[in-house]
Amino acid sequence: MSKQAQHWEKTRNHLFITLAIWFVFSIGIFFFGAEMEASNFRPLGYPLSYYMTCQGSLGIFVILIFWFANRQEKIDEEFGYTEREGG
């Protein structure tokens, strides 16, 4: 497999992991709105369903994007695809 094909395979796998996490917190958990509301796990004292829509999912998305960017940069470095600054 060529270097480029390997890089793309790693990039694609990284994408699938990212999208899987994204799916859980943007779609998956909201199938269980009523269950979250009834849950005894109450972050900061808020009902779980309320908390996830106000802060939880939103904050996870912010962290997820930075994590995604960091790991993607590592993949690019590994294959020598790092850009020169200002390029």
Binding site: W22, S26, F30, G45, F61, A69, Q72, E85, G86
Partner: protein, 605 residues
């Protein structure tokens, strides 16, 4: 001269700007104590901030194509994040969102999840690859990747439909705020708003819009956060409201049952006396009040729409590299998160201020005559945003007898909670900044697509730069004017139009953009079919449901993008597979897009 130096000095420049703005707020507060009238404070706030933006727009004037279309591709990561956040957060986010949460609770918060989750798609599926491509506009990517004028034209069509729907709503919002703050009729205020928008974008294109958007973000975030923190502290609810309002949320639920929420219903005859557009509290504050499918379908539409809206995507064309484009998406979402996570807190504080009899600001349970004598009630009642009526004739205000407009939650809460008027002036300036920054981005997206993709790429490829940029500015003016004229007619509410814009963009552009990077086999006929059939089927579904059609799968006029994008996906895949695979040159181009280093794809061809 200003270029290299200006970029290096950005933190200092905007630091001084922020400090100056805070000093201005303090001066206004002193002026208020000295007896300056509320109206004059409002005028000062709006006029002063708009003047600053126009000044930045003038400083950033340019006659270079790279600066006009993509701000010279040298906007640093964090600042591009701020500019994107301002570009993104519109009058709907600033003025309408907290109100929506206040009235509709959990079901409405699908928008919060959708409008943030979409950025994960932007970062992972699109932004870095489009940056590597090196295009000026989104149709530029479609036109070059798939080849042919038909693909380019179809992309321009979808972009125009979606962005134009969106921009009329924003000009409407600037008009609403300008008319209240400057005390002029709405029909005139719309054109005042338009003039301010054009001043920011006409001379300097993307470069001017970038630097005004950063300035607008600073104003709007201060204007949103300051009242939230102030009210929370004043009420004794906690010095950091985001982490400390759990007791208040629980208290609202307690008060709701005490005041008979849901058990006491208004008769149709009573409701007919309530002015149009105002609503009472009918849904519990924190309860799960919608089906999973309703919540998820709305969130999905907003997420896919986020990843297809050209005015957001083109902000990532302005970063210096692919890597910075990716990081910049993270910063964008961080700056958006600051406001979005505060909206539910504002809704909570606003509701509790009104409901809790233990607070001096609470009005439920007080006598109707007392409430009607309140200064702020009279002001907002006059503005047609508040209404009380003694339906049961007991002389006391019940929960079901108090009505408010959605905008009032953000605009009136500072006054209700007893904050000085200077805060209300600040909030008006923030709303103006939010609506202006989004309108700027949208008008620029449309006029750039028309001037670059239609005029330069299709009609007159030999046009000189100077001529292209003049055409771009004339188009900018015409589109702004058309948007203002339609906004003056007030056809659809602000929030409704915004949601439609997302559905239109998702119907026509989501899959053609994503598959352009991630599926090599996608070709021009497939993309054209995907864009046109997606847009047509989505629009048809919208018209059908609007005219009393029953719809299917629980898809409403707010989620018609699901129909459009599914048709788009299927037709794109089927048509691509039954027609010829793209040629070797195109395949190579896709390979190049996938490698972050090296020159942009367009500069090589």
């Amino acid at each position: 001269m200003i270029k290299g130096k200006f970029i290096d000095n950005l933190p200092k420049v905007y630091g001084i700007y922020t400090g100056g703005f805070l000093v201005f707020i303090i001066l206004m507060a002193i002026a208020e104590q000295a007896g300056m009238s509320a109206k004059l404070i409002g005028i000062f706030f709006v006029a002063f901030t708009v003047f600053i933006y126009a000044f930045i727009g003038w400083l950033s004037r340019t006659m270079q194509a790279d600066a006009y279309y993509v701000a010279g591709r040298q906007v640093p990561t964090v600042f591009n994040g701020m500019a994107t956040a301002a570009d993104w957060m519109s009058g709907a986010s600033f003025v309408a969102m907290a109100g929506g949460i206040y009235f509709k609770g959990y079901g409405y918060m699908a928008l919060l999840v959708g409008w943030t989750g979409g950025y994960v798609l932007v970062a992972s599926l699109l932004a870095p690859y489009l940056r590597k491509f090196g295009c000026y506009t989104v149709p530029d990517f479609i036109g070059t990747r798939y080849g042919g004028n038909l693909a380019r034209l179809s992309a321009v069509l979808v972009l125009t439909v979606a962005s134009f729907t969106y921009v009329t709503a924003q000009i409407n919002a600037t008009g609403t705020i300008a008319s209240v703050a400057l005390d002029i009729p709405f029909g005139i205020a719309v054109y005042v708003g338009l003039a301010s928008i054009l001043m920011c974008s006409m001379l300097g294109g993307m470069r001017a819009v970038t630097w005004t958007q950063v300035a607008q973000y600073i104003v709007l975030i201060i204007a949103y956060l300051l009242p939230v923190f102030w009210i929370s502290n004043k009420m004794g609810a906690g010095f950091f409201p985001h982490f400390m309002l759990a007791d208040e949320v629980a208290r609202i639920a307690e008060l709701e049952s005490q005041f008979g929420l849901g058990s006491v219903k208004n008769s149709a005859a009573d409701l007919a006396t309530v002015p149009k557009g105002l609503a009472g509290i009918t849904k519990a504050h924190s309860e799960v009040n919608t089906t999973p499918w309703k919540f998820i379908s709305l969130a999905v539409c907003m997420m896919a729409g986020t990843a297809s809206l050209p005015h957001v995507m083109m902000r990532y064309f302005t970063t210096p590299s692919v890597k910075t484009a990716r990081r910049s998406v993270g910063w964008s979402l961080f700056f958006i998160f600051l406001l979005y996570s505060s909206a539910p807190m504002l809704a909570t504080l606003s509701k509790l201020s009104l409901m809790d009899p233990n607070l001096s600001t609470g009005i439920i349970g007080k006598s109707i005559a007392d409430v009607q004598a309140l200064d702020w009630y009279q002001n907002w009642n006059q503005a047609n945003l508040m209404f009380v009526s003694d339906f049961n004739g007991n002389g006391t205000l019940e929960l079901n007898e108090f009505f408010m407009g959605g905008k009032a939650v953000v605009l009136a809460t500072p006054e209700i909670a007893g904050l000085p008027y200077v805060i209300s002036g600040l909030v008006a300036a923030g709303g103006m900044a939010a609506a202006m920054s989004t309108a700027d981005g949208l008008v620029l997206a449309i006029s750039n697509a028309l001037s670059h993709d239609i005029y330069y790429k299709i009609i007159n490829p030999k046009a000189e730069t100077a001529k292209r940029l003049i055409v771009a500015r004339v188009l900018l003016f015409l589109i702004g004017f058309a948007g203002a004229s339609i906004a003056a007619l007030e056809i659809q509410g602000i929030l409704g139009s915004v949601i439609w814009a997302f559905d239109f963009a998702m119907s026509g552009l989501f899959f053609p953009l994503v598959l352009g990077v991630w599926w090599k086999r996608a070709n021009a006929p497939g993309a054209v079919a995907g864009m046109l059939l997606g847009l047509i089927s989505g629009t048809a579904y919208l018209i059908w449901v609007r005219n009393g059609g029953s719809g299917f799968w629980g898809i409403t006029q707010l989620t018609f993008g699901i129909v459009g994008s599914l048709v788009s996906l299927v037709s794109m895949v089927v048509v691509s597979l039954i027609t010829k695979a793209p040629d070797a040159a195109t395949q190579r181009m896709v390979d190049e897009v996938r490698v972050p280093s090296g020159k942009t794809v367009l500069s090589r061809n």
